[in-house]
């Protein structure tokens, strides 16, 4: 399943770029994210709780960033297993372009699901994936808009 879209973010490309690699921002932005661990610069593991149609599951998965052109583009690939609910895997190419008052983020994703998600939730996956993507960017955008919280001193 292909998913394409773009989002206008009110922050400059450098800030957006940094946020894409920021564990805290991502943890807040990913819908249903229960935990997110950064293993290295480019590798994360996550536990995400999702409901797609009648199937709800806790997905454990890994996300890797590759093809990195700093400040401009990268590829996010991930694979999550939801036990008996099945699995989801996919890759998204993300590109950033400066705009007058912010950054235009374009994504081009290819997602595949399997197991119960495919056999039962297939008709709902397109709509759900779009909804989850929208939620991610809304959260991401909100996180960017918030001033950096002061960490404990």
């Amino acid at each position: 399943m292909k998913l394409e879209g773009e989002q206008l973010l009110s922050a400059d490309p450098q800030t957006v770029w940094a946020a894409l690699f920021d564990r805290d921002v991502l943890a807040e932005a990913i819908p249903g994210c229960e935990s997110l661990e950064q293993l290295s610069e480019t590798e994360f593991t996550a536990v995400v709780k999702l409901k797609i149609g009648p199937v709800s599951a806790r997905f454990k998965g890994a996300v890797t960033l590759s093809d990195i052109v700093p400040g401009q583009s990268c590829t996010l690939s991930g694979k999550g297993s939801g036990g008996v609910a099945g699995f989801a895997k996919g890759a998204a190419q993300v590109t950033l372009a400066p705009e007058a008052d912010g950054t235009r983020l374009c994504y081009d994703a290819d997602i595949a699901v399997g197991g119960k998600l495919a056999s039962l939730g297939n008709r709902l996956i397109g709509a759900t994936a779009q909804k989850l993507t929208d939620a991610f960017f809304t959260n991401f955008s909100d996180a960017l808009a918030q001033p950096e919280e002061a960490g404990p001193t």
């Binding site: 599951a57 806790r58 454990k60 297993s81 036990g83 008996v84 609910a85 099945g86 699995f87 595949a112 699901v113 399997g114 197991g115 119960k116 998600l117 495919a118 056999s119 039962l120 297939n122 008709r123």
Partner: protein
């Protein structure tokens, strides 16, 4: 005296089932029973890296989580090949995947818990790490050179191939005045039984006995399978199939889950229950059909069929089903082609391929709908090119009713069929002239109706020819024990089984007539290896023909016993006596001499009053194996009338006709029920039912929300007529009928749809004929017209 054979009688169990008093495996609860749920591969192909059960083990109610190492060790792997399919290969299969997963839904771990719900919750917590690889999904691609293996245990992806050829087939095509050809695609579908697969395995370590309550058609086959694969003496294995909520062939195959329940019960020494939920049924019940067929037909200038040449590609999943194989359907497809017709020459080629999907195997009317649809679609094209009417071209080609015995070009032997009489009868019922007039009138109003017909033969009453000759331990004979109770009632325990079609009812009718009692006095027991004699049970339309004959002969044996006893009591020659209305009657005068009740009383309570040496045992056993023809073929013809909305592609099925000849009819009501149910299971995959997979081998419509089964409102009135040509191989003369409706319904419907679309030059050759496919065909025809 009224004979009950030939009379309509309601199914004996219908009232009980309606009253909610059915007793299905899924209703049964045993003390200390545990519940099984399977963790399944979400991927079609891959390497099992790790199964993490640690979290699931802590889940409430979990008793044990079984993985391949423990479970598979209990059970000898099974191999789905048969010797008479020369060169066939299929890798061994075990309960759980070990290193490689082969289809989406293959079980990889088994959760045993105190309730199904708790087992399901725990299954959610099992983490399976599978390194996925590219699955083989397309049958044609699977057979290309260098294709990846669907199953690494196989030499290549070719499970089986066969070629049938008459010496002069090439000449027949070379000399033909006309050759018509087409390619067909028949979608995968599945059985969708009302009651899903269900099993309770109960191993008792104190006696070493295994009792399996199993919703199956073939208890004896499973007794043998469980004994051999779990290393138990056959006498210690009992299989009980109580009420079974539909089966249609789907419940006679060996499945990983049922074998898992038995293994788990032996490990845990407690009863283990597994009942598939509907989602699991879609993922794990056998699927049916899935054939891509290229067909050609050669005709002379008068429209006489000279030969057919067909090529069938049948992808069947990653292993062949056990113990009947997944090659049997393709084998029947190529053997049934052109079967109703005088067709001197033939070539049929079959390739059965492995792929990463759930296996396909025998389902109602194995192979028949494919062979019939291809043959009848080609006959329809032949009618077009020769300018003959559909009835006329069939009249010219169907085997004459007085030309039997007849051997088909594919080697099938027909004892006696009634194709021409069936065709004449159908013409009378359908009134094609009136239908044509209606069609022309309605077309002017933009309404597109069409009708189509399809002749068929059906294979019934198989002896050992199907499986026995290939080394399968599947009984070709059946057995009955008939006894008279002390009150003069009759009991029959018989090896054929009941799944809702009324087997027990017809057996009672047959036995009743042999013993001169009403069927209400005959009780029938089926489906328990401990209480019925051994036999093949119910499949391939053998219940009435073989089971009925077994019951008849057993009943007659008991009759002789009763008459001998009566003769001794009455001091009369038994030859002067017969049984009628529950009494022994004097043949000459018709006078009742002694009731069965009185004979029962004397034989049971006062045998001391009988003359010396008189055998007072009122229980007899009889086994019957069909001899003579290897199969009793039946025949018939079906007609379909449809209306196609050419704007939306939606089809209304307006009417369906069936003329059928199943030999002696034991119960007209149940025969018609069988035909109607069969027609619906033929029309379902013709229009609605399809298991859809994506390129990754994921089943994408595995629920009743997405998979369409026909409902009453989509189905037409089905008008049925009969011709009776009894087989002379048996006293009873009955042949099978269970698959007749399914055999030709789709073929007739496809011809009807194409007749409706004729003004547009559009043609369907793929099932199901969905609105989208109909619109695509219309679109293709439009493009062809505007841009030739």
């Amino acid at each position: 005296m009224t004979l009950h054979i030939g009379q309509s009688q309601r199914r004996e169990n219908a009232r009980r089932h309606l009253a909610g008093r059915g007793r299905f495996v899924s209703d049964l609860a045993l003390p200390r029973m545990l519940h099984a749920v399977f963790v399944r591969s979400p991927m079609a192909k891959g390497r099992l890296v790790e199964i993490d059960t640690s979290e699931a083990e802590q889940s409430p109610g979990v008793v044990r989580i079984l993985t391949a190492a423990e479970l598979n060790a209990r059970c000898k792997p099974w191999v789905g090949t048969l010797d008479h399919f020369a060169g066939m290969q299929s890798p061994p299969m075990s309960i759980l995947a070990e290193e490689e997963v082969l289809w989406t839904g293959q079980p990889v771990a088994m959760i045993i818990a105190k309730s199904r719900a708790e087992a399901e919750d725990a299954a959610d917590l099992v983490m399976v790490d599978i390194e996925d690889s590219e699955p083989v999904t397309d049958g044609a691609a699977a057979l290309q050179d260098g294709a990846p293996l669907a199953n690494s245990g196989a030499r290549d992806n070719l499970c089986y191939e066969a070629l049938l050829e008459t010496p002069a087939v090439n000449e027949a095509f070379a000399d033909a005045a006309h050759v018509v050809e087409a390619s067909f695609t028949f979608g995968r579908h599945t059985a969708v039984t009302l009651e899903p697969r269900a099993v309770i395995a109960d191993f008792d370590p104190s006696s070493g006995a295994l009792t399996v309550h199993h919703g199956t058609q073939t208890p004896y086959q499973f007794q043998d399978v469980y004994a051999r694969h779990f290393g138990l003496p056959e006498g210690k294995v009992r299989v009980i199939a109580p009420d079974v909520g539909g089966s249609f062939g789907m419940k006679l195959h060996v499945y990983n889950e049922e074998m898992g329940a038995v293994a788990a019960s032996m490990i845990l020494e407690r009863p283990v229950r597994y009942v598939a939920d509907r989602l699991e049924s879609f993922l794990s019940d056998i699927h049916a059909r899935d054939h891509i067929v290229k067909g050609r037909m050669a005709l002379d200038a008068e429209g006489k069929i000279l030969a057919m040449d067909v090529d069938d590609l049948a992808p069947v999943g990653a292993v062949s089903a056990y113990p009947r194989t997944s090659a049997a359907e393709g084998n029947q497809v190529i053997r049934l082609m052109g079967a109703p017709y005088n067709m001197p020459d033939y070539r049929g080629r079959l390739q059965v391929a492995f792929q990463n999907k759930v296996q396909t195997s025998q389902y109602r009317a194995v192979g028949h709908p494919i062979a019939c649809a291809v043959t009848e679609a080609l006959v329809e094209r032949a009618a077009e090119v020769t300018g003959l009417d559909p009835f006329e071209i069939r009249a010219r080609n169907l085997i004459a009713d007085d030309a039997y015995p007849h051997v088909s070009a594919t080697g099938y032997q027909f004892e006696k069929l009634s194709h021409q009489a069936s065709l004449a009868k159908l013409r009378e019922m359908m009134d094609p002239d009136a239908l044509r007039a209606d069609q022309a009138r309605l077309r002017e109003q933009g309404i597109y109706r069409g009708f189509g017909i399809a002749s068929f033969v059906e294979i019934t009453n198989p002896g050992a020819a199907f499986y026995g000759v290939g080394g399968a331990r599947i009984s070709a004979q059946d057995g009955a024990v008939v006894r008279m109770t002390p009150s003069g009632d009759i009991h029959c325990a018989i090896s054929v089984t009941e799944q809702g079609q009324g087997t027990e009812t017809i057996i009672a009718q047959v036995v009743a007539d042999q013993l001169g009692v009403s069927p209400e006095r005959v009780s029938v027991t089926t489906g328990d290896t401990a209480t019925t004699p051994s036999g093949g049970a119910t499949w391939a339309c053998r219940g009435a023909g073989i089971g009925g004959e077994t019951a008849l002969r057993a009943g007659r044996k008991l009759r002789e016993r009763i008459l001998t006893l009566a003769g001794a009591l009455l001091q009369a020659d038994p030859a002067t006596l017969r049984l009628e209305d529950g009494a022994v009657v004097d043949v000459a005068t018709g006078e009742a001499r002694i009731t069965l009740e009185e004979i029962g009383r004397v034989a049971t309570y006062r045998p001391d009053t009988l003359p010396d040496g008189v055998d007072h045992s009122l229980t007899v056993a009889h086994h019957f194996a069909p001899s003579g023809y290897p199969f009793d073929f039946t025949n018939g013809i079906q007609g379909s009338l449809v209306e196609v909305d050419v704007e939306t592609g939606i089809v209304r099925i307006l009417k369906h006709w069936v003329v059928e000849d199943c030999g002696r009819i034991i119960n007209p009501l149940l025969v018609d029920e069988q035909i109607r149910g069969g027609v619906v299971q033929g029309l379902g995959p013709a229009f609605f039912e399809e298991c859809q997979y994506d390129a990754d081998g994921q089943l994408t419509n595995g629920s009743l929300a997405d998979y369409l089964v026909p409902m009453a409102c989509e189905m037409p009135d089905i008008e049925i007529a009969h011709i009776e040509t009894p087989t002379e191989d048996t006293i009873l003369g009955a042949k099978g009928v269970g698959e007749a409706g399914t055999a030709a319904a789709g073929a007739a419907a496809m011809n009807a749809v194409n007749d409706a679309l004729r003004p547009f030059g559009a043609r369907l050759t793929q099932t199901p004929m969905t609105p989208l496919r109909i619109l695509d065909a219309l679109d293709a025809a439009r493009k062809q017209r505007t841009d030739p």
